[in-house]
């Protein structure tokens, strides 16, 4: 089943799951993406099959010459089965849109999943760099280099007034979206979260769920990103989001301290109950797992779970997703079978009975 090269990815957890980097007790990962199109070819949604195929050819050729993408893997989506496609979505390497109409679409994956380049998504190219922890600066400097390399060989659609021309006018300009995946359980518990999210939307940022646009926030994870792409330099956009994020992080830290000072017993009770459930349950749904793992992760971050590594908790978030479970099992599983497999995987990771 599935692609051999893709199976290799399964063995190595993504770089951004390391659970390291600045403020990694609150920020899981930082991501920067750039939207780019080629001059003279209609944007993907309006392009003929022949034009899409030509864009794919040009993009692959240019990616092949990039030093930054040396030894990267390129997959054409049409060559992948449904589980493999879903697997890439779960790893945040492609968007959900990218796997729907698969023809002439591809993704290049480089530097241990730090870099991914989607071809023929809404824009001809969507470059992405992901780092663990709060680290937008490094992500920006890497993607800037990659973008410069590609712009040597690809004629980008660009206007001196409006910058990079993109399919959606919300991306016009820098084509940049910087986003940070933050775990904010104490703001949710203390019911501060709506106030915080409301404030950040007024400062030009937006908050979404775990898998981006249109997804619900679950497991207390929030993806916070810039809304504006034009009229400011890339550095300014990134500084702005980092500055506001630091404030959100500070609020979450204060919330955690206050919970520990005033409601420690209730907090520990919640965390240890979640741990107990995960360690012993025989079947766990994907949303239940997310909520329980969020509580356990908070326990780790507060230093309450001696010996449990944050990296293990992070990996469980990803490995308990449907396509990951099915790839681990080596075959398609029904929803019911997945719940059993998920519970088994988590039990064994937490040192419970297998």
């Amino acid at each position: 089943m599935g692609s051999k090269a893709l199976d290799e990815l399964l063995k190595q957890p993504s770089e951004w799951l390391r659970g390291a980097g600045p403020v990694s007790d609150i920020v899981i990962s930082s991501r920067v993406r750039l939207a780019r199109n080629l001059e003279k070819y209609p944007f993907t949604a309006r392009a003929s099959k022949a034009s899409q195929s030509e864009v794919l050819r040009l993009a692959k050729e240019s990616l092949g010459q990039s030093a930054t993408l040396k030894r990267s893997l390129i997959f054409e989506i049409k060559d992948l089965d449904e589980i493999d496609r879903q697997f890439l979505v779960e790893r945040h390497l492609v968007s959900r849109e990218q796997i729907v109409h698969a023809e002439h679409k591809a993704v290049a994956i480089g530097q241990g999943e730090v870099i991914s380049v989607m071809i023929n998504e809404e824009d001809h190219l969507r470059l992405q760099v992901m780092q663990s922890g709060l680290n937008l600066q490094d992500a920006w400097s890497l993607i800037d280099t990659l973008d410069d390399e590609l712009s040597e060989t690809l004629p980008y659609a660009y206007s001196s007034d409006w910058g990079y021309l993109t399919s959606c006018p919300t991306n016009t300009g820098t084509g940049l979206r910087a986003s940070v995946m933050a775990h904010l359980p104490s703001l949710v518990l203390t019911k501060q979260i709506n106030k915080v999210l409301h404030t950040i939307t007024r400062l030009g940022l937006t908050a979404r769920g775990l898998y981006g646009e249109g997804t619900e926030a679950s497991g207390n994870f929030f993806q916070i990103s810039n809304q504006v792409a034009l009229g400011r330099s890339e550095e300014e956009l990134i500084e702005n989001i980092e500055r506001i994020l630091k404030e959100v992080i500070h609020q979450e830290q204060t919330g955690r301290e206050s919970l520990m000072a005033n409601n420690r017993v209730q907090l520990e009770d919640r965390i240890w109950r979640a741990f107990g459930l995960l360690r012993h349950a025989k079947t766990v749904s994907s949303s239940e797992a997310l909520d329980l793992l969020s509580a356990v992760r908070l326990g780790v971050d507060l230093g309450l779970m001696n010996g449990l590594d944050r990296k293990i908790v992070n990996e469980m978030f990803i490995f308990s997703q449907p396509a990951h479970l099915q790839k681990l099992e080596g075959k398609a599983l029904s929803a019911k079978e997945r719940d059993t497999k998920r519970a088994q995987l988590i039990r064994s990771r937490l040192g419970g009975q297998s």
Partner: protein, 171 residues
């Protein structure tokens, strides 16, 4: 304050106009401002940028005809309004008028200040310098420093003209 045109209604629209370093002010009521809209824009170099500030946006914002179509990809303005996505890079040129206002509403500014492709960055024209001037112009408008804004605008024009001559296909 009474409208300077009809001399009857309350003036609610206040315009600052700078031509050849001379600054004049115009105080109009909503109705007269609407009527004057097109005329004002025609000799108003900064009208686009000042529109937000002067609360004049509604008055002169241009809508493209629904059937206007992009010569390169065939997308009509009506199509664009339905799907919210442009068809190709050329659409930006085709629907330039409406997009200027739209981009400003989405992003708060209609001017790119970020990086440019390596190929273009290497051309002799100093992009960074131009971007810097545009940024200063925006700041000047934000701070209502109109004399400074006019000076910067003229400087940008000169540079843009030089750029046009150096690279005839620039938009």
């Amino acid at each position: 304050m009474v409208c300077e045109l009809c001399k009857q209604a309350q003036a609610t629209v206040h315009l600052t106009e700078i031509v050849n370093e001379e600054m004049t002010e115009l105080h109009l009521c909503e109705a007269c401002a609407n009527q004057k809209g097109a005329q004002v824009e025609s000799h108003f170099g900064l009208a686009d940028m000042l529109s937000g500030l002067a609360d004049f946006g509604k008055v002169h914002e241009q809508e493209e005809p629904a059937t206007k179509a992009c010569a390169a990809c065939g997308m009509t303005y009506d199509d664009f309004r339905k799907v919210g996505r442009l068809g190709c890079a050329e659409c930006y040129h085709t629907f330039k008028r409406s997009l200027g206002g739209l981009l400003k509403r989405i992003h708060g500014s209609p001017l790119h200040l970020g990086k440019s492709p390596i190929r273009l960055a290497r051309t002799p024209k100093s992009k960074a310098e131009l971007a810097d001037l545009r940024r200063k112009l925006e700041r000047a408008i934000e701070n209502e420093a109109f004399e400074e804004a006019a000076r910067l605008r003229d400087q940008i024009r000169v540079m843009e003209q030089q750029e046009q001559q150096a690279k005839p296909r620039g938009r």
